[in-house]
């Protein structure tokens, strides 16, 4: 299992993530980049704050990686998540998957971001001009 999993309070480096995930064996690389949107449901977002239960989040991210390796012929897999204060346009998450063929790369990348959003203990608070809200906390 060739993976690189990281939680960091520093800006994520997209190019070095891609460089790491590319291999001479792979023909298809899929990358998902999450960015901070400037608005949610019509309200202007000033910034986002991400917080992680870091030890557990890393453990859950490794479980996701393990599952992806067992479900698809993945060559390399990268999950970087940023925490702290992020401005609009900044990147909270990068997922990269390299495979011999593109089918597996697309499917594994999709699986990883979907599952991360369901199981990994990381929380984001949206800060608006007139208030703030922990995303997904309330009905």
């Amino acid at each position: 299992m060739n993976n690189q999993i990281k939680i960091s309070d520093q800006p994520l480096n997209i190019q070095s993530c891609i460089d790491w995930v590319m291999t001479p064996q792979s023909g298809g690389i899929n990358i998902f980049i999450g960015t901070v949107r400037n608005a949610t449901k019509g309200k202007i977002v000033m910034r986002l704050e991400f917080e992680a239960y870091e030890a557990m989040a890393l453990k859950e991210m490794h479980k996701i990686a393990e599952k992806a390796f067992s479900k698809w012929p993945v060559q390399k897999l990268l999950i970087h998540h940023r925490i702290g204060v992020l401005k609009v346009g900044e990147v909270p998450v990068i997922i990269g998957v390299s495979c011999a063929h593109r089918d597996a790369a697309f499917e594994a990348c999709r699986y990883i971001i979907d599952t991360l959003k369901e199981t990994v203990p990381i929380w984001k608070k949206e800060i608006f001009e007139d208030g703030e809200v922990w995303v997904a906390a309330h009905p």
Binding site: G34, F50, E51, A52, Y53, A55, M56, A57, K59, H81, P92, V93, I113, L116, K117, E118, T119, V120, P121, I122, W123, K124, K125, W134, V135, A136, A137, H138, P139
Partner: protein, 80 residues
């Protein structure tokens, strides 16, 4: 026994801090912990849902707790 409970995200706001101490009977379960917390912090019940993690793993309601466990309240996650 006394269990130290870590709080994250909105749970931190509800508890007014990043951890709280909860007094539980010996052989207390995750379910007992939730009841005790919900009595003390009724706003917990307004969340969409929340989980308890024991030693960095999601725990079922029947999980037994000990004083040595690392216990945490996990409100709905929203990473990515």
């Amino acid at each position: 026994m006394k269990v130290n409970v870590l709080a994250f995200g909105i749970a931190k706001d509800i508890f007014g801090g990043s951890s709280v101490e909860v007094e539980l009977p010996e052989q207390g379960t995750t379910q007992n912990l939730k009841q005790s917390l919900e009595e003390r912090y009724p706003r917990l019940k307004h969340l969409v849902s929340y989980m308890v993690a024991v030693n960095n793993e999601y725990a079922s309601d029947e999980s037994l707790l000990t004083e040595r466990d690392e216990v945490a309240i996990i409100p709905p996650v929203s990473g990515g």
